[in-house]
């Protein structure tokens, strides 16, 4: 895996821009989508192993998106980033296959750590 690609899904332009800048700066290749449907379209063309998904999206929500991605691409590592967290949502997230869960405003260092951790894990799986 020479290219470390990340897909971010959030319905707000500013947040997508911010993620793009932050992850690009750290050396990742970033693509963004504003809806779950758009993300699934992108996935049909090219796979992303590490994802940061907003839970509250127009149309299909982030939990359902995660479930679908994990079903077709079980090795993908999706992270949830959401504006309003309840404990119920947390258990739902684990159930849907999220690797971890962040509440907004999430610090960039936490998100970058998460990305690094995910790619290390993927590299370990690949060497197996």
């Amino acid at each position: 895996m020479s290219e470390k690609r990340i897909l971010v899904v959030d319905d707000e332009q500013e947040i997508r821009d911010m993620y793009s800048q932050a992850f690009s700066r750290a050396g990742y290749t970033v693509r963004s989508a504003e809806s779950a449907e758009e993300a699934l379209e992108i996935f049909k063309q090219e796979q992303y192993w590490v994802l940061f998904l907003d839970l509250n999206l127009p149309g299909m929500d982030g939990v359902e998106l995660c479930r679908q991605i994990r079903k077709d691409w079980p090795m993908a590592i999706p992270y949830a980033v959401t504006g309003y967290a309840s404990l119920f949502e947390l258990s739902d997230c684990r159930d849907a296959g999220f690797e971890d869960y962040f509440t907004k405003p999430a610090s960039l260092s936490d998100l970058l750590d998460a990305a690094e951790h995910a790619f290390k894990k993927l590299a370990r799986w690949k060497k197996r």
Partner: protein
């Protein structure tokens, strides 16, 4: 639980006060309707009251009517005590706003059962009010967190990015750090708001506001 009694006859008042205290109630005893009315205007006043019907000045039924006319927000359970026992009187007392009626001479066991029934009613009404308030607070908390955390995420992320590119010697470095710290505080606040599990208010100037600190504290235990 606090209970208010209004009874002009000192012997009856003393006896009533003694049994209610024995049953665990915190009794405030008054000897006329006007004093009882004054007690009910205070902050954190009793929510359970027993009024004698016949009293000089404002009698028990008039007292019930006056209190109900105030449109109180707090639940208040009123019991009328009287030697008048015909149906017309009972109807008149209940129509005046009493919740229950005890005929003199009363039997202690019946009095205790009726007062306890009133207590149950007050507790239930209080619980319902708390639940309604909590529901409103939670809905508001959800809206506030969602609407606030979205813009906070981009502002917080962008300021973090700017800080990464700025040398500590730059004149804007400290200013940006202060902005970042302010954003951090708002973030902590929204995290607390998300943890609200009960209704808890505190005084703010002359009105009440939600005590975010206390209302969000119950989550410390109980696991995930």
């Amino acid at each position: 639980m606090k209970i208010l009694i209004a009874e002009d006859d000192s012997t009856s008042r003393t006896m009533l006060q003694a049994v209610l205290t024995k049953w665990g109630y915190d009794v405030t005893a008054t000897e006329n309707g006007d004093d009882a009315f004054a007690v009910l205007q205070q902050e954190d006043s009793p929510q359970l009251a027993i009024f004698d019907w016949e009293m000089p000045g404002m009698d028990g039924a008039s007292l019930c009517r006056t209190i109900r006319g105030q449109g109180r927000k707090e639940p208040l359970y009123l019991i009328l005590l009287t030697s008048r026992g015909n149906h017309k009187d009972i109807v008149q007392g209940l129509e005046a706003g009493a919740d229950d009626y005890i005929a003199k001479p009363y039997n202690n066991a019946e009095l205790q059962a009726r007062v306890n029934a009133g207590r149950r009613m007050v507790l239930l009404q209080n619980e319902m009010r708390e639940r309604e308030k909590l529901q409103g607070v939670l809905e508001m908390a959800g809206a506030v967190c969602h609407e606030l955390n979205q813009p906070l995420q981009s502002v917080s992320g962008f300021s973090e990015l700017l800080l990464m590119d700025l040398a500590a010697s730059d004149k804007n470095y400290e200013t940006l750090k202060a902005i970042k710290s302010g954003i951090g505080r708002i973030g902590e606040l929204t995290r607390k708001i998300m943890k609200i599990t009960r209704y808890q208010s505190r005084l703010y100037l002359k009105s009440k506001i939600v005590d975010i600190e206390k209302a969000s504290q119950d989550n410390a235990e109980g696991g995930l």
